[in-house]
């Protein structure tokens, strides 16, 4: 039986929604999940736990979500028993569907996650019929481990190493927000004794760059931190030599789908003739294409934009009452799309390539 919705639980009325983005999944579902209002029958506990961690951004990057999702599904598979009269290679995919939907409601599945799920479904349906349940499950969990090893761990290492090779002494590198593979590349270059400076550009409301800046600074790298309003100053005064960007997805038309603000950094780099280098595992490549940041995006809860008194020492909290202000709308989207023309190189585990090669690599890596 589904729970009745608590009348005190309120969500945005339609006048509070930005008209341009009404086609996107609203954030109601996320809140219902975190408030425990969504029925969880048949959902595996590890999947429920993962969904909550995604909502709170404890697991945020698309590669981290990919690994966590596969590990959760590994648990689902281990706890699964084929019902009598059914076969694992058909029934297990049915069993996984609600788990996938649950995660998708917590946060729309990342491109990398969708690619991995597509791969897993093929693996499941190609399970040999003549083996026992436990053998089939052992085979699948082994394949999952191997997939994570190959597509994430090894790929990340290869990319970090080839990006570190591109860093020279005296480089000033700009990066935006936080990308796990960019962080790995910078730490790798530092480990190799390269002397360079990193400018981390960050933005509200997630401030992911603070983590990166702290990690790099603590590691002993000469690190500078500023917000995106200072971007023009950084690009025109700091003698920047390279821009390293992470990706959420590389689109089939060579455009980069990444944390909102990335396009501005790439644009300014192009304007100041600084090479823009994207670091992306091929698992993030997709044949989906997109030209603007509006048709496809992810909306995050507007309440994230309200500055709490704790967050800022002298905050006015001017937005705390925003829902009562008629005609005032807040927009909190997670991604933007960077045109291929701003991008010089994409470093993948297959090597460095121009944006035009994205569909080629996608075909290579998926074997289609």
């Amino acid at each position: 039986a589904s729970k009745t919705v608590d009348p005190a639980f309120h969500h945005l009325d339609s006048t509070k929604e930005v008209a341009l983005f009404k086609h996107l999944e609203d954030t109601k579902k996320k809140r219902e999940i975190s408030d425990g209002l969504v029925p969880t029958e048949g959902i595996h506990p590890s999947v429920i736990a993962l969904g909550l961690k995604m909502i709170t951004y404890d697991i945020c990057g698309s590669v981290a979500r990919l690994v966590a999702t596969l590990l959760a599904f590994k648990q689902v598979i281990l706890d699964y028993t084929t019902p009598p009269g059914a076969s694992l290679n058909r029934d297990l995919n049915h069993h996984l569907s609600p788990q996938i939907q649950y995660l998708n409601a917590a946060r729309p599945n990342a491109t990398a996650v969708r690619n991995a799920i597509r791969w897993l479904k093929v693996e499941i349906s190609s399970s040999p019929i003549d083996i026992t349940d436990s053998e089939a499950k052992a085979r699948l969990t082994d394949r999952i481990d191997a997939f994570i090893q190959e597509k994430v761990m090894a790929a990340g290492r290869v990319i970090a190493e080839s990006a570190a090779e591109k860093i020279r002494d005296g480089d000033v590198i700009v990066t935006y927000a936080k990308s796990a593979v960019v962080q790995a590349a910078l730490l790798e270059a530092h480990k190799r004794g390269k002397k360079f400076k990193v400018c981390v550009i960050d933005s509200r409301p997630r401030f992911e760059g603070r983590n990166l800046a702290r990690t790099l600074g603590t590691a002993g790298i000469d690190t500078q931190y500023s917000l995106i309003t200072s971007l023009n100053y950084i690009m025109t005064n700091m003698n920047v030599t390279k821009v390293f960007l992470g990706a959420h997805a590389m689109l089939g038309n060579g455009y980069l789908y990444s944390r909102v603000g990335t396009a501005m950094v790439a644009m300014m780099a192009k304007d100041t003739e600084v090479p823009v280098i994207v670091l992306s595992e091929s698992i993030k490549f997709t044949d989906r294409v997109q030209l603007d940041s509006i048709v496809q995006n992810e909306r995050a809860p507007e309440s994230e934009l309200v500055i709490s008194a704790e967050e800022e020492g002298d905050a006015s909290g001017g937005l705390r009452e925003w829902e009562k202000v008629k005609n005032l709308q807040l927009l909190n989207i997670l991604y933007d799309v960077t045109p291929a023309s701003y991008i010089n190189t994409i470093i993948t585990e297959y090597g460095s390539l121009p944006p035009s090669s994205v569909p080629v690599v996608h075909r290579l890596s998926t074997g289609t």
């Binding site: 509200r204 500055i307 937005l319 925003w322 989207i333």
Partner: protein, 421 residues
């Protein structure tokens, strides 16, 4: 940095109290008031183009009225000296220097008007047409004959004006004329935003999507005026970490929220007049979403801190990236600014255009340890080159960036562009 912010700052003497006290003081206290304004500027207790301009004009008015001079050169050099000290106190408040130069121009004009005009050797008709060609747009009377700045006239005039001994003029008449002129400048400062807003309907059509950034009284009034007749959408980038508090408070329209009394005093805005109450849909976005939204924006309307002689802007940090994003999308950029923000100086003359603000604003309390491991940079201003702007709207009308040099030439005398020496 962070710990400093915990200490409550005592109510700083604001612009109003400065203006009030300047009218009351004795002549002997004028030098003290100059020092007082210098310290207010240094400590940023009077900041922003309009406020610093008002303070400067009031101070100079008092200086002119309190000073006794026998020779006009004395008052000119005194004001130049005060101007040097004020601009040095806060080089980025270009409006201070602009007002000083305007006052110097006034004095020179008064002196020239006071001298008897030479007999014109040209037919009256020619004189008239030439005079009207030289009359400025600001309603300033046309340049009289023999004025050294009208170079065309001195070329045509067969009898060059002999240099008169300026000391012979009655300083009393001149003084009254100068005071009147400064009063007109103060008047212009208070009406500029309204005059700019008057053209709003010529630039905003119905159902348009306008993008603006941060908080500008001029932009606010411009949009409010258009909202009286038309409905459109305004997207506001919040200008974090320096402007968001004001932006959020003004949008909430809540006069009771802390800090609003300060804003009201700064801007003479009532919080009854918010954009949302005027019926506009207002979408507040983080600064990172500007590029994502730009593909749907029809026009970018920006306020600015100052305009340099070449038509470039010194505007709040973020303006350069926004105007670049607009260029990439072929979206027109309109800058609204009172003519008092137009400065005869070039961007390379502005000392440290990219002023750095409090790095503590860019990090939270719990991130205070970041400051130890990395260098935090928070810039306050961007320089935006003139090719990024499509249109300027001042209280004198709409202009292409390429035309601004003419307005600059109308407002300032070449001999006053540099206040040094």
């Amino acid at each position: 940095m962070v710990t400093q912010r915990a200490v409550p700052v005592g109510g700083p003497p604001s612009l109003d109290s400065f203006v009030k006290s300047i009218t009351k003081i004795e002549a002997s206290q004028v030098p003290g008031m100059v020092d007082h304004l210098i310290s207010l500027l240094k400590r940023r207790q009077i900041r922003g183009s309009r406020n610093t301009a008002v303070a400067t004009a009031n101070l100079l008015m008092r200086v002119v009225s309190a000073t006794k001079w026998s020779h006009v050169d004395a008052i000119i050099s005194k004001i130049r000296e005060i101007g040097r000290r004020l601009t040095r106190a806060q080089p980025r408040e270009l409006a201070v220097g602009n007002i000083v130069r305007r006052v110097l121009g006034l004095i020179r004009e008064e002196v020239e008007n006071d001298s008897p005009p030479p007999s014109a050797s040209l037919p009256a008709g020619t004189t008239l047409s030439l005079q009207s060609a030289h009359s400025t747009q600001g309603g300033v009377p046309a340049a009289p004959l023999g004025q050294p700045s009208t170079s065309m006239f001195s070329l045509l005039s067969q009898n060059p004006t002999p240099q008169k001994d300026k000391s012979s003029h009655s300083s009393k008449n001149i003084k009254a004329g100068i005071m009147e002129g400064i009063r007109e400048i103060l008047d212009e400062l208070s009406t500029a935003d309204d005059l700019i807003a008057a053209s709003a309907l010529e630039h905003i059509h119905s159902n348009e999507i306008i993008l603006t950034m941060g908080y500008s009284v001029t932009v606010q009034r411009f949009l409010l005026r258009a909202a009286q007749k038309r409905s459109f959408t305004v997207i506001i980038a919040e200008g974090y970490p320096n402007d968001q508090d004001k932006v959020h408070q003004v949008l909430s329209g809540d006069p009771d929220s802390p800090g609003n009394s300060q804003i009201a005093e700064d801007s003479h805005l009532t919080f009854q007049q918010t954009l949302t109450r005027a019926g506009l849909i207002v979408i507040l976005i983080p600064d990172s979403a500007v590029y994502a939204m730009m593909s749907r924006v029809n026009k970018v309307i920006l306020g600015t801190h100052a305009v340099t002689a070449n038509g470039g802007l010194v505007a709040a940090a973020g303006a350069a990236v926004i105007s670049k994003a607009a260029k990439e999308h072929r979206t027109p950029v309109v800058v609204v600014a009172g003519a008092y923000k137009l400065s005869p100086v070039h961007p390379f003359d502005v000392e440290g255009i990219s002023e750095h603000g409090d790095p503590g604003k860019a990090v939270r309390w719990e991130d205070a340890d970041m400051v130890e491991s990395c260098d935090v940079v928070n810039t306050l201003f961007d320089y935006v080159p003139p090719n990024m702007v499509d249109l300027y709207i001042t209280n004198l009308g709409g202009h292409a960036p390429s035309y601004l040099y003419r307005i600059v030439a109308d407002h300032y005398r070449p001999e006053d562009v540099s206040l040094d020496g």
